[in-house]
Amino acid sequence: MKNPLKIIKGRYLTMGVPYLWLLMFFALPFAIVLKLSFSSAAIAIPPYEATFSYADEMLNIALNFGNYLLLLQDSMYYMAYLTSLKMAFVATLGCLILGFPMAYAIARAPARLQTVLLLLVMLPSWTSFLIRIYAWMGILSNNGLINNALMWLGVISEPIQMLNTNFAVYIGIIYAYLPFMILPLYATLVKLDLSLIEAASDLGSRSINTFWKITLPLSMGGVVAGSMLVFIPAVGEFVIPELLGGPDSLMIGKVLWQEFFNNRDWPVASSLAIVMLALLIIPITLFHRYQSRNMENDV
């Protein structure tokens, strides 16, 4: 006979271990960021003032909205958010335009070739992210490969400034995140019923028309998932604007990093994180809905 108590214990354990771990190291940290965003910076270790203090048998709560006011007043922060959203949006669009036909071609390739092509697409993302961004520094710089080639060909006489511009950041984001766009697109496109497309073309639909009316609407789940997988991390990207961007590619991830590491203003860094999260909550929810539909299997 199975011991019912044992089964229940096992269930709680299976649930409890990941639950407690995530509560401790994922949920609780966010509560602390929220708390700290209402604190003020101080020259101390750790460099902020306590929000909750207990003195004379009284619990004192000191909330400081100054950090949020600062974000509103100083146009630098405001611009950084706008620039991040704009650049992430354009780069996501770039990934989609390049990634969709690629995913489509892979999904229509012979079955054996599909695995090889997917492997080829994914392989770069398993090598170092940092090193792949670094590769573009050598290609785009003023005495880099592209400028040298163009000058040798006589197309230009002066090098074009490409490194440390927004253009380089776009290239970097598209390059780094392209595989994450292709994978979910492939997953939906490979399940697409080909007979629908054939039916459309049999009935005289032009291929462009078929694409807009049949292929794209039916692969919307993959489009949304892929776009969110690119857009959300790109908004908070630090490495790419730091290495490839210039003074005008002021992205919020970089600003947060500087506030934290260079200015040691932890409360402002925290409020920057909270506002970023608030801006991203809609895309995150969209992605989550797609992901949990794929993962969950209610018994």
Partner: protein, 271 residues
Amino acid sequence: MKKLSFSKVMLWFGLLFLYAPMFILVIYSFNESKLVTVWSGFSPKWYGELFKDTQILEAVWTSLRIAFYSATMAVIIGTMAAFVMTRFRRSWAKLTLSNMITAPLVMPEVITGLSLLLLFVEMADLLGWPAERGMLTVWIAHSTFCAAYVAVVVSSRLRELDLSIEEAAMDLGATRLKTFFLITVPMISPALIAGWFLSFSLSLDDLVIASFASGPGSTTLPMVVFSSVRLGVSPKINALATIIILSVSLVAFLSWYLARRAEKKSKEAME
């Protein structure tokens, strides 16, 4: 037919776009000149320089150890979470767990890193533990975000499994735990291995979260590479990049080859 050829052209263009920069990195790692962009002759000397750099070598060792432990922990947590998500009845607890486990997949790294660092600082303040940030705190941080990837990989495999095999084992008197280790684990082992390797490479590669969570004495490889790359291109980094690219390609090719051979064998066995 016309659109198919367009998508094929884009596929080749995209693959060229993905691979050309990496090939250029590899080629220039054999450049004799210190200027990475000017070719002045073939020389393997930068590899020699690389292996003399004790700072890089120490960072490699630190990173490898952290990646090993993080991947192992991530597989344990991620598999448990995947099991809850695919085999447990809908409940409030399951809903919150599934919300928490996939969130790190899309969370901007600066936010995850900042929040974990603040947690460690508060904990040190209140509990006196962890007294110092180092390998342990990076391990916790990496295990948490890698578990999300493991959960995705493992849950997709768990969903495909034929439940009747597990049910048969339990009908024949095996306990739930025994069934899990003797029936479920062998059947999901490809996903467990894939999840482990994915976590290993993610941990090895992470710069932002490690920068927040680490302390003195636990400088990881990406942190060393980043501080060097910030100052500009250097042929030593090209040599390091070449070694990374070649070893990842080798592992990927081997796993693909072994998977194909196993598939062929099972097909032959079926016939």
